[in-house]
Amino acid sequence: MALLEMNGVRKRFGGVLALDDASLSAAGGEVHALLGPNGSGKSTLNKTLTGVVVPDRASITIDGSPVAIHGPRDAHAHGVAAVYQQLSVVDDLTVTQNVVLGLEPTRRLGLLDRRAARTVAAEVLTRFSPAFAGSVPYDAAVGALSPGEQQIVEICKALARRPRILVLDEATASLHKEQVHVLFEVVRELRDSGVLVVFTSHRMDEVFALCDQATVLRNGRTVGTIALADATEDQLVHMMVGDVERREEARRSHASDRTVLQVRGLTTQRLRDVSFSVAQGEVLGLGGLQGQGQSDLLLAMFGAAKIHAGEVLYDGVPLPLTSPVKAARAGVALVPGDRGRQGMFAVRPIQENLSIASMHRRATARLALSQRAERRAARGIVERLNIVIGGLADRISTLSGGNQQKVVIGKWLLNEPRVVLLDDPTKGIDITAKEEVYAIIRELADSGAAVVFNSSDNRELLEMSDRVLVLFEGGVVDELTDAQVTEEDLVASALRLEAGETL
């Protein structure tokens, strides 16, 4: 009998339906992989189980009896513990304190029992001592540990809760190979003792090495569950992508042969030796699983990340990438993915939001601004991009998501950029607005800009891009051109199925 049954799970975030009738059935004593392309709803399903996300509708049974999970405490009560890539450790507390956090053993009157805490921590941590280079730093603040060590603490915290169901959501992302080894040993022991481990990883080799079953999600729905021992890579990819018609529309190659933008050996904290070039008028797509360095690459090209090595040349001249201001002056524009935080001043008028990046162009003697010139420039852009607004003096926060995004793009058009970087520009906006944004991107390319375009939506990426670079863990692992630019190729490449590293 299945230990865990999740059926009809539905969750809407604003305008996005993250889960639509998703299901998962898994037995105790197995390691069950949860697979799916970007935005398929793996994380949301995990979080539904662990109580971090409360679904709009779901029926969950554990051990045959229906359960309601309204928060982490409920999940804990039903024996569910979770490890996320995004850590839930408190930097200022020690390793031991973090492991027992929320379940501190106490003596009379609620006074902490340090010895018992240490015992609990030692029980789970000792197992991982190879991952800490031999000695476990019980009393070190977690904030002082390396990311991999912090991840181990996070894992131990989950293990200390003695779960019947353990969710590992990208828990291996920041681990070294040796650490992964130890973790896998522990996971196998847990499996053998009857625990269900739900495992999500972008590293397919890990999935094949560790998991027994895999459930595949696509667009928030469960496609099916297969035993991994029998599954081929093609089968998996097909499940993830589904039956899609080959794109017939001829890719417009307006791109000239003249290479204008060259990225050479770009390395930052998150990027490894990234090199590529973009021709004038070309749209270069950035693909792969989410969070593999696409946004980091765009930020670095905009001067917003510390560059350890490498350079970016435009027409053979290095771009100044020490600050966004300098990059913008040199003709680089970034339309960020996180509009609210990075792209706009929500409570300021539309006028100001449009003017801000390019004011220096219209300023007399670099100082004096003419209200009229500012308004004229803004009005021009509003018409050109077909932005639906009440008045230029309205706050930008009064606009719909699509129109907000057009204001953010318009801001940079006013600055007449030579290089346009777009970081998931259509995230969270409606279909009509999306089409308009696509049109603007084409127009930008046609007018001779070099466009680099990151998208979490594979179809959009395929439709818009002349070429697609596939990133994995901060490096370029593949380049898809012409005939290769298909969704299956993209997914397969993103999952690195043919080039799987062995553990």
Binding site: V52, P72, R73, H76, A82, Y84, Q86, L87, S88, V89, V90, D91, D92, L93, Q97, N98, L101, G102, L103, E104, T106, L109, G110, L111, L112, R114, A141, G143, A144, K157, T268, Q269, R270, Q290, G291, Q294, S295, D296, L299, F302, A304, A305, K306, S323, P324, L334, P336, G337, R341, Q342
Partner: protein
């Protein structure tokens, strides 16, 4: 989601919020606090030859206690990620309630002190509920409740009056085996904190202040912990009120209000970051003593009275500026 990697600069321009964030990050190292204390004591001794006389010591410690108590309370709220701008008003309210109920009679004292403590608990609970349930910014919410509490104080005791029994005031100025009672009170407050530190709720307060989301995911009852922090702070405000009553021997409906900001200064000088989760109350105790001694120094240094307030302020700013020097800050984790 693709969280911005650490080390990248945000493309957005620096905002006020960003600078407030920086300010909140400032944390003085324990060494710096102790160094400041040593310097302040040394200078005070140099300027005041009778610093170690019985009266000078006793009166100094008597002066420290109210500030020490309220600073410990403030520390606990700050550690939980909040701030309590109503603590001074709570001191006022607790003190007037206590003095009214005591009515000069020693026999009424136990009841009155219990009621005073109850006032602190009630005020703290009220603050906690306003902050947690109504989800108001602590700085705004407690600023608002401070008017409620000081308004209530005026209702309880419309004009200065009431007396505390002389046993209470003289006992406070007494010594036990040569050790001033006020010093014992400070040691008791410190011991109370050290005990509290070993309590589960304090661990949760650190966790919530350090990373509320992580604490929530780790099954820490975040809301309850926040409220508890305000309640404990309210209890320390009551202790502060008792010390003030021992100092003054009478009630005054405006007495505690100015302690609030000094308590925040003591917390910062004592090495607790205003962002929460880091630091501890022992530092705040030393911070409170430093602040009190600084105003002594300014007096004994014969700074002309017109400049005294300025000098006082400058010394406090200097202390806070020292806190901003990276070398003196507690090493932050990567």
């Amino acid at each position: 989601m693709n969280p911005a990697p650490p080390g990248t600069r945000e493309p957005a321009p620096a905002t006020l919020a960003h600078w407030w964030g920086r300010l909140r990050d400032i944390q003085v190292s324990g060494t710096a606090t102790v160094a400041m204390l040593v310097v302040v004591i040394a200078v005070n001794v140099a300027l005041q030859p009778n610093f170690f006389d019985q009266y000078a010591l006793t009166s100094n410690f008597a002066t420290f206690v109210p500030l020490v108590a309220i600073a410990v309370g403030q520390t606990i709220v700050v550690l939980s990620g909040g701030i309590d701008l109503s603590l001074g008003a709570q001191v006022t309210l607790a003190s007037v309630v206590t003095v009214q109920l005591t009515d000069g009679e020693l026999g009424n004292l136990p009841l009155a002190l219990t009621a005073g403590l109850g006032v602190g608990v009630a005020c703290g609970l009220f603050n906690g509920l306003v902050v947690v349930v109504a989800r108001l910014q602590p700085i705004v919410a407690t600023f608002a409740t401070s008017f409620v509490f000081s308004g209530l104080a005026l209702v309880v005791l419309p004009r200065p009056g009431g007396t505390m029994p002389s046993e209470f005031t003289s006992g406070y100025r007494d010594s036990v085996l040569g050790v001033p009672v006020a010093l014992l009170a400070i040691l008791a407050i410190a011991a109370g904190w050290l005990l509290l530190r070993r309590h589960r709720v304090t661990r949760h307060i650190y966790a919530v202040g350090g990373n509320a989301e992580a604490a929530f995911a780790s099954l820490v009852p975040v809301a309850r912990t926040r409220i508890t922090a305000y309640v404990i702070a309210g209890m320390f405000a009551s202790v502060s009120a008792f010390a003030i009553l021992a100092n003054t021997g009478a009630g005054d409906p405006f007495i505690g209000n100015e302690l609030t900001l000094t308590s925040v200064a003591a917390v910062v000088i004592g090495g607790t970051a205003l962002r929460g989760g880091r630091g501890g109350a022992i530092g705040s105790i030393l911070g409170a003593i430093i602040l009190a001694l600084v105003s002594n120094i300014v007096f004994f240094a014969d700074v002309p009275s017109t400049y005294r307030q300025l000098a006082n302020g400058l010394v406090v700013i200097l202390a806070l500026a020292l806190a901003g020097i990276p070398a003196l800050q507690k090493r932050r984790s990567a």
